[in-house]
């Protein structure tokens, strides 16, 4: 056996530096946390945020390079293109804000532990790997890393059975979904002979007009789609989401809805557009139908909830529907539509991540110890009790409802514009109508906060959460009022290395 000819693939350390920063921080926290006496309050989240912030910064620094020359890393396993950089920044940023919100939650629940922060970091690694992978096997491993971290994080609050119930449900269903995804990968592999996205596309591109292997491939696409749709909580693969969002510790819910959802949707975009563009005519109608169902289902189910976290869970499902509108648009042939669609989805991901992180950070404060009181009633009179907190939450909610001059409107406008550009008028119309239905749910919270009076103590806003809220609200209004710079970024985002 000739073993000497092995040539290890080149490793682009600079490009991998964000991942390394995250992994290094996670390991450092674990090792130091295990070996040293309890840390002073705030040091854990500070370390986590610093590490994640460093990762985000390292990624952001490479933006122009990535725009100029999108490339793949380590023998073609990971992409390093603008989309990848954006996802990296987005996920690392979510960790920064998520860990800050989480630290206040952990303090309140008297559950400080380095593991929770480490899992946030590993989840981020999984998310980034998953979304940036250019190899379906790597995608799968990233997905599992993300999922396993989230299962544990969801089940983390052992004082509350709902938390564990959420973890277990998420876990079992997630396992099934992973199996579906993996089966799809296997079938794709069988047809294309490779799991590299670019190579798959190349193989399929050659076989256009040769329908003989279509069945196997298409069923493979279908199963990949199902697996990712589950992660992105698209109807009808959403059923885990309300329970898990409800049961999980509130800041974790925020993290799942931001980084988790962003990774899943970004992966969907990359896989569909890079690996299967030649079958767009086949998968686009499915995305249309799933998108419409998701939009309407999310909105309709959200308005009948009495529990705020469930409500926001369903609303998060609806937002995933909006993201699909952009992806559906990208699925239309035609360079402009494709760019606009993918960019719109990216913009939506970023904007929604900020909104939902802030929202759940605020909700986490209001619902009180043990995440116990999560019904709408709890928010009554908040406007009088804690006007600043209520104002911030109102801005975030109105942005989610898509009120103009907030980032939420920019996001919605982006996907609708892409859809219209691609000729998907009806899907755009369904999206807008679902936004109307969903508006009712945000109004219910606003009503409770401002228009109903209830005596109660003021809700304290600890410094870390304050930072989160300020950042989220500032970004919401900043992007909403002056979206130019943000759109400039998005203009370059839709290019994929393979």
């Amino acid at each position: 056996m000739d073993v000497g000819t092995f040539a290890a693939p080149a490793v682009q350390w600079w490009a991998l530096s964000p991942l390394l920063a995250l992994a290094g921080t996670a390991l450092a926290i674990l090792v130091v946390g295990a070996l040293t006496p309890p840390w002073r309050a705030g040091l854990l989240p500070l370390a986590t945020a610093t590490g994640a912030g460093a990762a985000a910064t390292l990624a952001a620094l490479q933006w122009t390079t990535a725009v100029a020359s999108p490339t793949t890393l380590v023998g073609g396993a990971l992409a390093w293109d603008p989309y990848a950089v954006l996802v990296t920044v987005l996920v690392s940023g979510s960790v920064v804000l998520g860990s800050l919100a989480l630290s206040d939650w952990l303090w309140r629940e008297r559950a400080e532990t380095p593991e929770a922060h480490a899992l946030l970091l590993t989840a981020a690694i999984g998310a980034i790997v998953m979304a940036n992978a250019t190899d379906l096997v790597v995608t799968f491993l990233g997905l599992e890393t993300l999922s396993l971290s989230l299962y544990v994080l969801a089940a983390m609050n052992r004082r509350r059975t709902e938390s564990q119930e959420a973890g277990l449900k998420y876990f079992i269903l997630g396992g099934v979904a992973s199996a579906f995804f993996l089966y799809g990968v296997a079938l794709t592999y069988g047809v294309a002979g490779t799991t590299r996205l670019g190579a798959i596309s190349g193989e399929l591109g050659m076989s256009i007009g040769v329908p003989r292997n279509d069945v196997l491939l298409l069923v493979g696409v279908a199963m990949v789609l199902v697996g990712l749709a589950f992660k992105a909580s698209l109807v009808p693969f959403h059923s885990w989401a309300p329970d898990v969002y409800h049961g999980a510790p509130t800041p974790i819910t925020g993290f799942m809805a931001s980084a988790g959802k962003a990774a899943a949707v970004a992966t969907l975009v990359r896989v569909m557009l890079v690996a299967y563009p030649s079958r767009a005519d086949d998968w686009r109608p499915v995305l249309w139908a799933v998108g419409a169902l998701t939009l309407l289902g999310g909105a309709v189910l959200a308005i009948v909830q009495v529990d705020v976290k469930r409500m926001l869970a369903y609303s998060s499902i609806g937002h995933a529907g909006f993201m699909l509108v952009g992806l559906e648009a990208a699925g239309h042939r035609g360079a402009f539509a494709e760019d606009a669609g993918a960019a719109a989805v990216a913009g939506y991901l970023a904007i929604y991540a900020l909104l939902v992180l802030g929202t759940f950070a605020a909700v986490a404060l209001v619902v009180g110890e043990g995440d116990a009181a999560t019904t709408v009633d709890v928010f009554q009179g908040l406007g009088r009790r804690s006007p600043w907190l209520a104002s911030a939450l109102t801005v975030l909610l109105l942005a989610q409802a898509g009120v103009p001059l907030t980032s939420g409107f920019v996001a919605k406008f982006g996907v609708v514009r892409a859809a219209v550009d691609a000729g998907s008028y009806w899907l755009a119309g369904v999206a807008m109508l679902s936004a109307v239905v969903a508006a009712y749910l945000y109004l219910r919270l606003v009503v409770a906060m401002w228009l109903r009076d209830a005596a109660g103590p003021a809700v304290a806003v600890p410094p870390a959460s304050r930072v989160v809220l300020v950042v989220c609200v500032a970004a919401t209004l900043g992007i909403g009022i002056v979206p130019g710079w943000f759109l400039d970024l998005l203009a370059d985002v839709a290019s994929f290395a393979s």
Partner: protein
């Protein structure tokens, strides 16, 4: 010979699987799982994947099922689950429809599409050699799949950390208090 091996292996796989979903006692289910895992391993061997087959037996049948049994015993939940009754109306018929549907679609796809898979079995270097198998896999793992390999390390860290976080007696470490 090949047919006989296939038939036996297939029988092991499917009987074992049937056992997993029908045996009311989790211990029995776990043992049925072992049967399936062995059957799959046989099929691996039948297709020349010796190394993988070995790992299948060692890791899967060995480590994972043992872990299952360990937890079952640890928790003392080896009582039989009542599999005769189904509290959820229509759950079973619907599940049957869904499972049959999924299986049917997949069977249809593989039967219809398998022919499309480029058959290069003959053109490749001798796959029957166990050494070659291991070397190829090693090249693959540390070459094309080195990122995947590194990610699995993170994954294992997650598993460890997660288990620690889930099973530690006290909820928090009391850091900072």
């Amino acid at each position: 010979m090949e047919l006989a091996v296939f038939v036996c292996a297939a029988a092991m796989v499917l009987v074992g699987a049937a056992g997993v979903i029908t045996r009311s006692n989790p211990v029995h289910a776990a043992l049925s799982l072992v049967l399936t895992l062995f059957g799959v391993a046989v099929m691996f061997v039948a297709q020349g994947a010796y190394f993988v087959a070995a790992v299948q037996v060692i890791v899967y049948a060995g480590a994972i099922v043992v872990l299952f049994l360990f937890v079952i015993m640890l928790l003392g939940v080896d009582r039989a689950e009542d599999v005769r009754t189904e509290p959820l109306t229509a759950q079973r018929p619907l599940a049957l429809v869904v499972a049959l549907g999924a299986a049917a679609v997949l069977v249809a796809a593989v039967v219809d599409g398998a022919a499309a898979v480029r058959d290069r079995a003959g053109s490749a270097p001798d796959a029957a050699s166990g050494d070659a198998d291991v070397v190829e896999i090693a090249r693959s793992v540390f070459g094309d799949y080195v990122v995947a390999f590194e990610v699995t390390s993170i994954l294992l860290v997650v598993a460890v950390v997660g288990t620690v976080l889930m099973t530690r007696r006290r909820l928090g470490t009391g850091a900072g208090r």
